[in-house]
């Protein structure tokens, strides 16, 4: 059996994932030894679209060109892994997804779109799974080194990665932090996937939700709680959407449809993961 072929591809985002991978030190060199890296734009020249065992994706899809590239990568790759919340959920640039007015925002920055973009039609930002099937997800903004190594190791060995499915609160308790929600701060810990090691909470910073929505979560309950603590609907929506990407937009839509959101049953939010 030859070496497994790996390719890292990057769409719209901040390249945070590639930077985390570059920070894997000795493990990165082990990975290079064990595999053939066909694409890693941040680290090497000669990047190709070619047959792959594992394709690793970073960033969300914001142009027709990226959409085509993504589909091409899918057609070449046995396994596709979305890394980072841009690729997994759409990232911050998807926070207004479905709200309308995207064209207007676009024109404000770039002028009249049709004249400008002939071959590379821009799109409203969407996660990778809006266009192709994704096999595994590594959430985080940016991803965590340990979770990346865990995942890539399992995928290389032909098994599935197993990342925490619980929310940030669990890790926050492991680190023995005082609950900020109880102090009245708008912490998104209960809605956010664990795996960051409760990084912000250890610094008294309320969770902003950058690991994306948890596998199973109770949005109405936290919504209600924050209303009780005196936050306005607008503030809460803004906070929930910041890193919630496509799945949170859907979830909030559902909640807001009910005139009395507090009676809404907690939706099971799968987020495609």
């Amino acid at each position: 059996m030859g070496k497994k072929k790996i390719g890292i591809y990057s769409f719209s985002g901040c390249s945070g994932e590639q930077l985390v991978i570059l920070e894997c030190g000795a493990e990165l060199f082990n990975l290079c030894d064990l595999t053939e890296i066909k694409s890693f734009p941040m680290a090497q020249s000669n990047n190709e679209y070619t047959l792959l065992d594992i394709g690793l994706l970073e960033g969300s899809i914001t142009t027709e060109r990226q959409k085509r590239e993504l589909k091409e990568i899918r057609s070449h790759a046995k396994i596709l892994v979305a890394m980072g919340i841009c690729a997994c959920f759409g990232g911050i640039q998807s926070m207004k997804l479905g709200e309308g007015g995207w064209k207007k925002r676009f024109q404000k920055v770039y002028g009249d779109e049709d004249k400008l973009f002939k071959t590379m039609k821009p799109l409203e930002s969407k996660p990778c799974n809006a266009f192709v099937k994704i096999d595994y997800y590594i959430p985080g903004c940016p991803i965590d080194k340990k979770q990346f190594l865990h995942s890539i190791t399992h995928v290389l060995n032909g098994s599935s990665p197993y990342l925490y499915q619980f929310s940030v609160c669990t890790e926050c308790k492991w680190k023995e932090n005082d609950c900020l929600l109880l102090r009245g701060l708008p912490c998104l810990g209960p809605l956010t996937r664990g795996g960051c090691g409760a990084a912000c909470l250890c610094y008294n910073i309320p969770c902003v939700g950058c690991w994306g929505p948890a596998e199973v979560l109770n949005v109405p309950s936290e919504y209600r709680l924050l209303i009780e603590k005196g936050y306005t609907t607008e503030e809460i929506q803004r906070k929930f959407r910041k890193f919630g990407g496509a799945p949170m937009v859907e979830c909030l839509k559902k909640i807001m449809k009910q005139s009395n959101y507090s009676a809404t049953k907690a939706p099971r939010l799968k987020g495609g993961i």
């Binding site: 985002g13 390249s15 945070g16 914001t62 770039y110 903004c141 912000c200």
Partner: protein, 431 residues
């Protein structure tokens, strides 16, 4: 007509390409293209609270996340008249230094060094240049450690907030940082010497203007409220829009920057050219030993400038840490204003970064971000044009692509950053 097309620039942050059109021995056109998709960050923050802004804008770029955060903090704090205690300011400077060490080591070792040693990536260099790679990793790791300690994470840490920090770094970790920095100085010297040993080609040379922030008290540094220009002009950061004259050029419909109608350079090379005299210690010694007039004309010296800056940073850390430890931990004060405008600027690793905000009723009404790479783009194009012209006139046509890529990389462009402003330009067959 011949067309050189570098579809995708590798070993830079983000997605870009270069197109050069050549007619016989003449350069017809040079374009740096940005494929990075639009994220509309400046519009996303409109209607958000300042706290939200601080979560969002650092995500523009994974490398210079803290520079964005710092510039945004300065802009917002000015807008809201928030007074920032000295200890907080010094700790922020320390964190920015971490980012500069990290970003420079990444560029020097992983993005640039393979070019000079003839490899396609740093991973391939391990067998023959293990020491260098190890040194690079250690240096980058140290930069990240510093960022992590102060900002809460290696990338996109949320600890720096309006007016202060969620938690200040403890004495224990500060001491740890100081000791590690002292140990790494000799490594940094080796890096400077390595980059001093390369022959930088002269076909890129031309005259340009440099711009950098001018730290107070005649010191070297990365934070200030005034812009120094190599024409001996000095302006306040509030006037940045006039100084860097963002404009739309007809062929690319993209915002580009010029100073008095001419391209200019920002970044480590600009800082050394403008402020190098102020360096002291070992960094100062190397500056005196290595600096020449060629630095004013040749962007390849940016690599060496970055190496000297890494040395400067390591030498500065112990002093900064001592100062910080001598001060009381301040408490964060809540702003009492909810409207205003403010511009913040810091020297990001790649050059001056401006953030402008205007606020009403506690929410952002307007935002403008000018990133170093956007400011450099015109200059990169001009440099590429100069180089292709010089090479063609000497009849050198092999490896043109590589040579051009090396030039673009020398500027250490960060395309994610520039992409929220720069319009995509594609020639028809490029897609």
């Amino acid at each position: 007509m011949k067309r050189i097309f570098i579809k995708s620039l590798a070993r830079v942050e983000g997605h870009g390409g270069i197109t050069v059109k050549i007619d016989g021995k003449k350069v017809k056109d040079v374009k740096v293209q940005i494929y990075e998709g639009p994220r509309l960050i400046e519009k996303l923050v409109v209607g958000k609270s300042p706290e939200d802004v601080l979560n969002i804008v650092p995500r523009i770029c994974g490398i210079c996340t803290l520079s964005h955060r710092y510039a945004a903090l300065k802009g917002l704090e000015k807008a809201l008249n928030i007074e920032v205690p000295l200890r907080t300011r010094l700790t922020r400077d320390l964190m920015l230094i971490g980012e500069i060490i990290q970003s420079h080591s990444l560029h020097i070792f992983f993005l640039s060094l393979p070019d000079f040693l003839g490899y396609s990536s740093a991973m391939d260099m391990v067998d023959n240049y293990g020491e260098e790679v190890k040194r690079g990793l250690a240096m980058k790791g140290f930069g990240y450690r510093l960022m992590e300690i102060i900002s809460a994470r290696i990338i996109h840490g949320e600890n720096p907030i309006l007016g202060g920090f969620g938690a200040h770094p403890s004495q224990k970790v500060l001491v740890e940082i100081k000791e590690s920095a002292e140990k790494l100085v000799s490594d940094a010297e080796k890096i400077v010497e390595l980059f001093a040993s390369f022959d930088y080609p002269s076909y890129v040379e031309y005259d340009t203007t440099f711009m950098a922030l001018n730290p107070p008290d005649g010191k070297y540094g990365f934070v200030s409220n005034s812009i120094l220009i190599s024409t001996d002009e000095e302006r306040s950061v509030e006037e940045y829009k006039e100084v860097i004259q963002e404009r739309v050029v007809p062929y690319s419909f993209a915002k580009r920057s010029r100073y008095n109608g001419e391209p200019f350079t920002v970044g480590a090379i600009a800082r050394i050219n403008l402020l190098g005299e102020r360096l002291s210690g070992k960094a100062g010694d190397y500056y005196k030993k290595l600096y020449s007039k060629r630095w004013l004309r040749n962007p390849f010296f940016n690599n060496l400038a970055q190496a000297i800056e890494v040395l400067y940073c390591l030498e500065t850390i112990p002093k900064l840490v001592d100062k910080i430890m001598g001060l009381e931990e301040p408490v964060v004060k809540k702003p009492f204003k909810d409207a205003g405008t403010g511009t913040g600027a810091v020297e990001a690793p790649r050059g001056t970064l401006y953030h402008y905000y205007s606020m009403k009723d506690g929410l952002i009404t307007d935002c403008d971000i000018a990133t170093p790479t956007a400011q450099n783009l015109d200059d990169i194009e001009r440099c590429l044009r100069t180089a292709v012209g010089n090479l063609l006139s000497k009849g050198i046509e092999d490896d043109l692509e590589l040579k051009l890529e090396m030039i673009a990389r020398a500027y250490d462009p960060c395309i994610s950053c520039s992409a929220h402003l720069v319009k995509v330009e594609t020639s028809n067959n490029s897609d």
